[in-house]
């Protein structure tokens, strides 16, 4: 993406030097290395020190993933339901705010930016510990509804941020053109704005889903141990001595996010604003 043919026809720094290739290889090794023991443990029957490969391979770990006695299938369902609900609600609630911040310059915009970014960055537990009493009182604690509500804290503003960045790049002339052609507000929204915003809507939903999917502390505090999501099970598994189970469960947890991110690499464009929250995942 260079501006002139003069610079794009030249190469600044040659790509193929040995040092560069070696450096990248080291980086890739570093990125992959921690996942290796995880992958192997998921299929290990017995793997005692000091063996470098398991003495025995087994599918027990994988089998647990579909075994109702391990609670994993139920937790999978719970996690999926909660995450999709949170994603849908976050995009729905965050959409109008994103439009306001992205399209208009108004007094107090800075304050609004702060109010939208803070819940994403400030750890959820700071608010959840204060809220729990009220959630208990209103019978929202120990319920999936309560968990969904509390997970709106980081996801709604995050969706607003992603959508705001997209709205800033939206050409409102399309909407004006539609109005001039006689379309009412609802039609403009359905047939012009939403289709144009589709990549950003998907991206916002994707990241809201991911945040909810990986969330532990909020689910623990508000769910009270009654709402069992996959991260809660994993936490318990890690604290137990069943490494194979923990590893297998980890693979399950990584699965959907990995697929979703790889499917949407095109959407992860540089100006999308979504990058901000990615360190949280």
């Amino acid at each position: 993406m260079t501006s002139s043919a003069v610079t794009s026809s030249g190469v600044v720094g040659s790509p193929g030097t040995v040092g560069r290739r070696l450096g990248v290889a080291v980086l890739i090794a570093g990125a992959l290395l921690p996942l290796v023991p995880l992958l192997v443990w998921a299929f290990a029957g017995q793997w005692r020190y000091p063996a470098l490969t398991p003495q025995q391979l087994s599918l027990r770990g994988i089998g647990l993933l579909t075994d109702p006695r391990s609670q994993i299938p139920q937790a999978l369902l719970t996690s999926t339901l909660i995450a999709t609900t949170v994603a849908a609600l976050a995009v729905l609630i965050g959409y109008p705010a994103g439009r306001a911040v992205g399209l208009y310059r108004f007094r107090g915009r800075r304050a609004v930016q702060f109010l939208l970014l803070a819940p994403v960055i400030v750890p959820g537990l700071a608010a959840a510990v204060g809220l729990q009493v009220f959630f208990i009182r209103y019978h929202l604690a120990d319920s999936a509804t309560g968990v969904v509500l509390v997970q709106l804290i980081p996801t709604v503003p995050y969706a607003a941020i992603v959508l705001a960045a997209a709205f800033a790049n939206l050409d409102t002339d399309y909407e004006r053109q539609a109005r001039a052609l006689g379309a009412g507000s609802l039609r403009v929204l359905l047939f012009v704005t939403l289709p144009l915003m589709r990549p950003a809507l998907l991206l916002a939903g994707l990241f809201a889903f991911l945040i909810s999917w990986s969330e532990y502390v909020l689910t623990l505090l508000i769910g009270g141990g009654q709402v069992t999501t996959l991260p809660l099970l994993l936490f318990a598994a890690i604290s137990s001595s069943d490494t194979t189970a923990a590893a297998a469960l980890s693979l399950l947890i990584i699965g959907p996010p990995l697929l979703l991110i790889l499917a949407s690499t095109r959407l992860l464009s540089t100006r999308s604003g979504a990058v901000i929250g990615m360190g949280r995942l």
Binding site: G10, G30, A118, V122, V129, G130, S214, L258, I261
Partner: protein, 314 residues
């Protein structure tokens, strides 16, 4: 353009009138419209986030909702000040956050510069880094345990290389006092995040400026120092602030990879919160408020740094 008057209503019709009708339909003045748009999201933030933190603040002063006879005091804060657990927690949290951020930042700069010079390999190397984002921190903690513990893969490799004879001979870097494994996990997860940010920053015209510098006589090292790094600085600063806030505020990782004492601030907060002794409750709230204030400052810092970049919404 012809305008005709319809006989019955006396209202103008025709093409000019159409736009006027749609103009009058937008009868909401702009400030009202903006407030309405912002309302749902700000309501969520207000009620749950500000409300939650506000409640934590109130409860840190001893306020007990739904219970009679609560007396307010600043005891929680004064005891925090003298509490050795909190002091060492602040130190450990700062140590872990600063070191993780610094290491991740340096590695990310190196990685971004290496990767952007790649020809064809660039696409899937970036994809690999993005895939790393799919791994939750919880899973990352497990990975570090399996890799770095005294029975883990590195220890076994050391044994195979003849360096250690027993698990105990391998240094204890998980659940240790210095948070080595914690830092390792953060660096592993946050370096790709920062690298992706930096690659994005570099793609917006850095190559052109470097070419201009080259023709002006700047050698490779000079270009790096005088053009590339200054261009990266705002993005790196903003991203580092975010990483600092994330690493300071995470719970799962220091809980699983660290020790109960000393522990990072979020772990301490939940320790006090779960304490059956209810006098610990205000202290838990006070730690929560402290966390909120410190990360709030980080958010403000981030916005200040990033505001220099034009055309960014956030």
């Amino acid at each position: 353009m012809t305008r005709t008057l319809t006989p019955a209503t006396g209202e103008p019709s025709g093409p000019a009138a159409l736009s006027r009708r749609s103009r009058t339909r937008r009868s909401l003045p702009q400030p009202v419209r903006i407030c309405l748009l912002l309302a749902p999201a700000l309501a969520v933030v207000g009620v749950f986030f500000l409300g939650g933190v506000g409640q934590a603040l109130a409860q840190s002063f001893g306020y007990q909702p739904y219970l009679p006879g609560s007396h307010l005091s600043t005891d929680a804060y004064s005891s925090l000040w003298t509490d050795p657990a909190v002091r060492s927690s602040l130190l450990l949290t700062a140590w872990v956050a600063v070191l993780s951020t610094a290491l991740a930042a340096v590695l990310a700069v190196v990685a971004a510069l290496l990767i952007r010079g790649l020809g064809r390999g660039r696409g899937w190397t970036t994809g690999l880094f993005q895939a790393n984002l799919a791994v939750p921190h919880l899973v990352g903690a497990l990975c570090m345990l399996l890799l770095l513990s005294q029975g883990g893969l590195l220890s076994r490799l050391a044994h195979a290389a003849g360096l250690t004879a027993t698990p105990a001979a391998f240094p204890a870097i998980t659940n240790d006092r210095f948070g080595v494994a914690i830092i390792a996990e953060y660096v592993w997860k946050e370096t790709p995040f920062l690298t992706v940010l930096l690659l994005a920053a570099l793609s917006h015209g850095a190559a052109d400026l470097e070419a201009a510098a080259r023709v002006l006589g700047a050698r490779a090292r000079q270009r790096l120092r005088h053009v590339t790094l200054p261009l990266l600085a705002p993005t790196l600063a903003g991203g580092s602030i975010l990483v600092f806030a994330f690493t300071a505020g995470s719970y799962e990782v220091p809980y699983l990879l660290g020790r109960p004492y000393p522990a990072t601030l979020p772990v301490v907060a939940l320790q006090y919160y779960k304490d059956t002794d209810l006098t610990s409750r205000p202290q838990a709230m006070a730690v929560a408020v402290l966390i909120a204030v410190l990360s709030g400052l980080a958010v403000a810092g981030y916005l200040l740094v990033v505001s220099r970049l034009s055309r960014r919404v956030l």
